[in-house]
């Protein structure tokens, strides 16, 4: 008996000491930091370097959240793959530091025909990493390969259909791939013919799917093409090395054959897959990473860190209101007043600042901020303005009107959301806001993994779904096209003829009239949100990263690949 008590006491002391030690840890860290600081001040013996001057050693250490599934530009469909492609290969155009598409493999701006249907590109004298020249034929081959249905390219037909001539027919197997609207006039001249004028066509040329591939190399490698870093050719700022095809680490080495190699300062980038954000932060704090993403609950904790940087994104999240369950039976959400009531009944600022707390912005729009600009570089957001802003009084009026029209006095609706901690927190917030502000509404939450959500979306088996979209090219149409009648991503039985017409016009008679085209978009957005409340915008996502002060010149892009390391460098690390 005496022994047990003693044991218990010892156990409790030990457990307590673990907690105490954990609490003490934070103070120690701060002390360490201040010690380091004073050390720096005293380090006067080393000659002081000019501010911003690159260091002698240019090696960067980064983490990715997932392994590379593929680097075959016709097959790539994920964020990691597109990011790798953007740094080891190069298309006709590339997004520059200001995210403007500038000639890359093209030597000069393309010439566009009067009707906007033909583009002629002149290629520069660029080389593949094996020393052979990049030719117009390489583009023809790559594009034909991407549109060939046998390749199974997810982005080939998605990006080219309705844009590049004959792409739709070829992708459906009704026409030979040789008929695709791309021709090599000579070794260095490329002519592309379009189905319709596409005002954002040049920005598309920076997208991975349109990169060149050398036929001889691809054919000789066969099925092994692009399955590891040796089975790929590079024409971009870096080459990929030490990638075994499935592994959790790889490196980039500076590509000396790259045409603009003199402006590439980094000599090597080491990448490791780190799935757990907490681990990434620890590695960062230990100096093993120069940049680490901070997600979920950690974001709030680190948002005030002196090394935290906010990176606004162009993904917008919204509620989809399903008007026909399983595509047949009308739901209460088919009533416009019910939709408006819900859309206006939750406070978006608190959600973004307190619940998400990761740099996200409240959204009263579908087309994101800092994404699309008109000819005079005016943000589309300044042209279109705010819609469906939070207003409880109005929400209540719409709600009562809607209930009366439906002839009921209460409703039960389901919110379908993701299964991450953050989405669950967000769903709880919606439930409390909606149930408090709209009398007689009961919200049921359904939180499922991504693949399950996609399937429920596909069969339209939900009431309200929290969904989001990131753009594939720099034009409002990348978002507005989603909700045309029978659009592949509509999947909520929304249909408005006027909206459809505006979107159709923007692709036809307005295609060459940029100003009127943007006005049509603004009008369409207003119909979708303010008039119809087909969806309820929630927030534009932001990300928080910890970034070492010596890591400079990283460029993040609003669409396509996430980053360019071409202009990045290390300064002041040593």
């Amino acid at each position: 008996m005496k022994n047990t008590k003693w044991l218990l006491l010892m156990a409790m002391t030990l457990v307590l000491s673990i907690f105490l030690a954990a609490c003490g840890g934070a103070d120690e860290k701060e002390e360490d930091a201040s010690k380091d600081g004073s050390k720096d001040d005293n380090a006067t013996e080393t000659p002081k370097k000019e501010d911003g001057e690159p260091d002698a050693e240019q090696i960067l250490n980064l983490a990715e959240s997932a392994a590379i599934p593929s680097v075959d530009s016709a097959i790539v469909e994920d964020a990691v793959g597109f990011n790798v492609l953007n740094n080891v290969n190069e298309g006709l155009y590339r997004l520059d530091q200001e995210n403007k598409a500038i000639p890359a493999m093209a030597s000069e701006e393309a010439t566009e025909s009067e009707d906007g249907l033909t583009y002629t590109f002149k290629l520069r004298d660029a080389k593949w990493s094996d020393g052979t020249p990049v030719t117009a034929e390489d583009f023809v081959f790559a594009w034909q390969r991407a549109i060939d249905p046998a390749t199974g390219s997810p982005y080939g037909p998605f990006m080219m259909s309705g844009t590049v001539k004959n792409a739709t027919a070829i992708s459906e197997g009704k026409m030979d791939k040789k008929e695709l609207g791309i021709v090599a006039k000579d070794e260095k001249t490329l002519e592309v013919t379009l189905e319709r004028p596409v005002p954002y066509f040049l920005s598309l040329m920076s997208f991975g799917t349109f990169y060149p591939q050398k036929e001889e190399f691809v054919t000789s490698k066969g099925d092994a093409y692009a399955t590891n870093s040796d089975n790929l050719l590079y024409n971009g700022p870096f080459t990929l090395t030490d990638w075994d095809g499935t592994g959790g680490s790889w490196s980039y080495k500076k590509n000396d054959e790259y045409w603009d190699a003199e402006n590439v300062k980094l000599t090597q980038i080491n990448v490791n897959v780190v799935q757990d954000s907490a681990t990434a932060v620890k590695l960062y704090k230990d100096g093993k990473l120069d940049r680490a993403g901070v997600s979920g609950d950690l974001a709030m904790q680190y948002s005030t860190d002196p090394e935290a940087v906010l990176q606004p994104e162009t993904s917008v999240f919204y509620m989809k209101f399903n008007q026909k369950k399983l595509k047949k039976e009308e739901t209460p959400l088919a009533n416009v007043n019910i939709r408006k009531a819900i859309a206006k009944s939750f406070q978006k600022e608190d959600l973004a600042d307190v619940v998400l707390a990761n740099g996200s912005l409240p959204a009263n729009f579908l087309v994101p901020k800092d994404f699309a600009f008109d000819e005079s570089q005016k943000d589309f957001r300044d042209i279109s303005g705010d819609h469906l802003t939070y207003n409880v009084e109005e929400a209540k009026e719409f709600w009562e009107k809607g209930l009366k029209e439906l002839g009921v006095d209460s409703l039960e609706l389901e919110i379908l959301g993701g299964d991450t901690d953050l989405s669950k927190k967000m769903d709880e917030y919606f439930k409390s806001q909606l149930e408090t502000n709209l009398e007689g509404l009961t919200i049921k939450l359904k939180e499922v993994p991504f693949a399950v959500r996609l399937e429920l979306d596909d069969t339209q088996d939900y009431d309200i779904q929290i969904s989001g979209w990131g753009p594939d090219f720099q034009d409002p149409i990348s978002f507005l096209d989603l909700f045309v009648t029978d659009g592949t991503n509509n999947l909520m039985s929304y249909s408005n003829k006027e909206y459809d017409k505006l979107i159709a016009d923007s692709k036809a008679e307005l295609a060459l009239k940029p100003q009127e085209r943007y006005e049509a978009f603004a009008k369409a957005e207003k119909i979708l949100l303010e008039d119809d409340a087909a969806i309820a915008p929630i927030y534009q996502r932001g990300l928080i990263f910890l970034e070492k002060p010596h890591f400079k010149g990283l460029v993040s892009h609003p669409f396509g690949a996430d980053y360019s390391y071409k202009w990045a460098y290390i300064s002041g690390k040593e």
């Binding site: 840890g25 392994a67 997810p154 499935t246 490791n272 799935q275 093993k288 996609l454």
Partner: protein, 310 residues
């Protein structure tokens, strides 16, 4: 003995066959398609891609094809890693997991046995309570808690070993192995202590003492060997625990092992990889259990695995 082993091997294959069959059909009930970009493909492409992966055929045919390839040792092509065989995928991921598992197992059982013996021989002293306490901690706290604590103190605070990743030679493997070793360590210590105490009280030990054998000889030659038997019984389940523990520990230390692969393949419905990793884990466990059964006979001649007449 040979007959027994032969029989066991046949049973092992039957078990594997049943596991493969069950996993194959259970997997078909997963919602969603294994092709991530399914919604982006048009009908022509869908047909071609499905044909390429053989998922256009009826399920029983797919099953037959899969089992036929499996018999040849071919685990198929991954959906998520475009065009890469699951065999290659597992091969490149197996090494870190294997090193961690083996180190944890060896270190955990050896230290556990020593602790258990000390506790038994110095019964009801500080050593006994200390090691008991340690063992209770090890059993009740899951390995990922140890992983986080070790990572925080040993790596982040004291900078003795790497925080994570698999690029620093043996140093990278120390902390994750230690975290994983806590389970086997605690369990071995408990078992050895209990058994040793029991064995030390038995008649033949008294006899050995009476014959004048020294303490060391008694402890190792007579008591220890008998105390090992129950421990060996639980080593199989312990190995199973290591496998599940490694799923989380690998993630905490950002180690590109097979556990990480297993979790992410389920998230994206990568059927071939799910099958491959499940079968790999099953095979591993079946083999461990088999070895444990064989070891019985080696350690204790009284146990006749062949089931001969007593």
């Amino acid at each position: 003995m040979v007959k027994y082993i032969g029989k066991r091997i046949i049973y092992m294959f039957i078990t594997m066959f049943l596991i493969a069959t069950a996993t194959f059909f259970l997997m078909q009930t997963l919602p969603g398609s294994p092709i991530a970009s399914y919604s982006k493909l048009n009908d022509t492409q869908k047909a071609i891609v499905e044909k390429k992966y053989g998922i256009d055929k009826p399920k029983p045919v797919q099953y037959a094809i899969y089992m036929k390839n499996l018999a040849k040792g071919d685990l198929g092509t991954s959906f998520a890693f475009k065009g890469k065989s699951v065999n290659d995928l597992l091969a490149s991921r197996m090494k870190p997991s294997f090193i961690l598992g083996a180190q944890a197992m060896v270190f955990g059982t050896i230290v556990g046995i020593l602790l258990g013996m000390i506790a038994a021989l110095k019964q009801n002293t500080f050593w006994d309570y200390g090691s008991t306490f340690f063992a209770i901690l090890g059993i009740s706290i899951p390995s990922f808690v140890f992983a986080t604590l070790l990572q925080y103190y040993v790596a982040s605070q004291w900078h003795l070993l790497p925080v994570g990743l698999w690029n620093d030679g043996w140093k990278s493997s120390v902390l994750p192995s230690l975290a994983l070793a806590m389970g086997p360590l605690a369990l071995s210590a408990r078992f050895i202590r209990t058994e040793m105490i029991e064995v030390m009280g038995s008649d033949y030990i008294t006899l050995a003492k009476a014959k004048g054998a020294n303490g060391f000889e008694i402890a190792f030659k007579h008591a220890f060997r008998n105390a090992l038997i129950p421990l060996i019984t639980v080593l199989g389940p312990v190995a199973a625990g290591l496998v599940t523990g490694s799923l989380v520990v690998e993630q905490i230390f950002a180690i590109p092992g097979i556990g990480e692969q297993f979790v992410s393949s389920i998230m994206v419905n990568d059927f071939a990889t799910i099958m491959g990793t499940t079968l790999f884990f099953s095979a591993f466990l079946i083999v461990v259990i088999f070895i444990v059964d064989i070891l019985y006979g080696v350690i204790d001649p009284r146990i006749r695995v062949a089931g001969g007449k007593a």
